[in-house]
Subunit: 287 residues, 2 copies
């Protein structure tokens, strides 16, 4: 919200690809901005398609990579192309890289706009947080990396919205900054194992969900198979799973797509397997 | 900001008496609201005068009592009259009572809209914080008390702006809530002594500042005597005191009045006396 307020005036348009993190929409509304949700696209993002759909009035593009909810990751070449295009056309990119360290395709963090040459990233605003990077959820520490002129505006806005970053959280993050890279890598490896457990269980037991193995993030984005979509949607599936099986999934409507649910792999393998078993049981009885 | 976003749409007008807490103005701008600063008034607030100056388009009135910067306190009769008037005319009051427990006129906290009968306070939104109430500055814990329909909107907004109140701060405030009333009273008595020290020192040594002894808050609001106002204003006095005497005061321009400075009495008596001595020295040399 701070970054959007720093870049936009009331009435400006921001755009983001769907499925999207729901707060993009809510924050835009709170900030008096109009929104353009790019058409829903299944599977791997296509930045050429994004660019085709931005309006002439679009001032800021917001995306997450690794994505919440889909876990898809933009390669470095895409990041470079997007940032060059933003600079050329006078747009701004807000790169939400909250899940940069939850990346499973290779060793190390996901490709990031932070690695772009400085002169190519003048129109890029990078956001991240301690919640995911250091598993310090709830302490409300985030940060923005951008051109000094943008940061100056962000500082003024943040001081009015929140005064300062909370004292205890600052102390925690100061310690967390020296977390060894190996520890971050171990956490990421553990999440990767859990992702693999979830995907294997879904593959074996739940044919009515279609998904792509995510390269990052904490979630598997599951679309409902076509033969269900008349009778069920993400909302009704999520409500039924919760009430009948006590399994919590997030309906896709929250992210801009009705016919999907988002599954998390943050729990230990045993719980993940139990959860998928219940989804399977529910599906076999109802579908 | 949360309360304003809950009550207003882009383009709505909010009004506040001057001198005002500067964030009212900045937050309104960030939220796409127009502002009406009621004409500057020296000394005791006059709510009749406020009401005369609100526009037909004014949707929300924001005021602080005890006031930052003046320390003036609205009596209970004024609070009641304002809240009745808000309900009758469809306006909303945001009562910023951050300094409710820094009150020196009688024992106990300052008069508060929280003590109004429920049916009279339907259009009143009360805000306060742990920063001042429990001396937990920097932990960023505030709260809003209002009609459930307003609170529901505030919750939705807060969840998008901040997600949650930071975990460590919540734990601190949970403990602080059981602070004995006597301890709050002791802190208030200490501040009262410091206020008296500051006022006595100013009375004896600095004839070129005009002020009213504040009934609450942490500050003495000092207007420059008339014979200075051509040569000096609050900005130049504050800058000169800082560079020449290393005394920090806040210029009145921040609060909507050029010819004033705000002095704090949060330091121990010895420091207050030393500070006023330096202000006196500076004045005698320059004025």
């Amino acid at each position: 919200m701070i970054a959007l307020l720093a870049l936009c005036d009331v009435g400006d348009e921001i755009a983001f690809p769907a499925p999207y993190w729901p707060s993009y929409l809510d924050i835009a509304r709170l900030s008096g901005l109009t929104t353009r949700a790019l058409p829903y696209k299944s599977g791997t993002p296509d930045i050429g398609e994004w660019i085709d759909h931005f309006g002439d009035q679009t001032k800021v593009i917001v995306y997450s990579s690794p994505s919440n909810p889909t876990g898809s990751v933009l390669p470095a070449t895409d990041l470079r192309a997007l940032s060059e295009w933003a600079k050329e056309t006078g747009r701004w990119l807000i790169a939400d890289e909250i899940y940069q360290f939850q990346y499973y395709a290779e060793d190390g963090p996901a490709p990031s706009v932070l690695h772009l040459p400085e002169e190519e990233s003048e129109h890029v605003v990078h956001i991240s947080s301690a919640s995911k990077t250091f598993a310090l959820m709830g302490h409300r520490i985030g940060w923005i990396t951008a051109h000094p002129s943008v940061i100056a505006r962000c500082s003024g806005i943040a001081s009015n919205m929140a005064g300062n970053v909370n004292t205890a959280g600052q102390a925690l993050v100061t310690r967390a900054l020296s977390t060894p890279r190996e520890e971050l890598a171990q956490r990421s490896a553990q999440l990767k194992r859990q992702r693999d457990v979830l995907c294997a269980a879904l593959r074996d037991g739940v044919p009515w969900l279609r998904w792509t193995m995510p390269d990052g993030g904490l979630f598997v984005w599951c679309e409902l198979a076509d033969d269900l979509s008349g009778r069920w949607d993400g909302d009704t599936v999520a409500a039924a799973l919760l009430s009948d099986q006590h399994v919590a999934v997030v309906p896709g409507s929250a992210f801009g797509h009705r016919d999907a649910v988002r599954l998390s792999f943050t729990e230990p393998p045993g719980k993940i397997i139990e959860g998928v078993q219940r989804i399977k049981t529910w599906g076999e009885a109802r579908l």
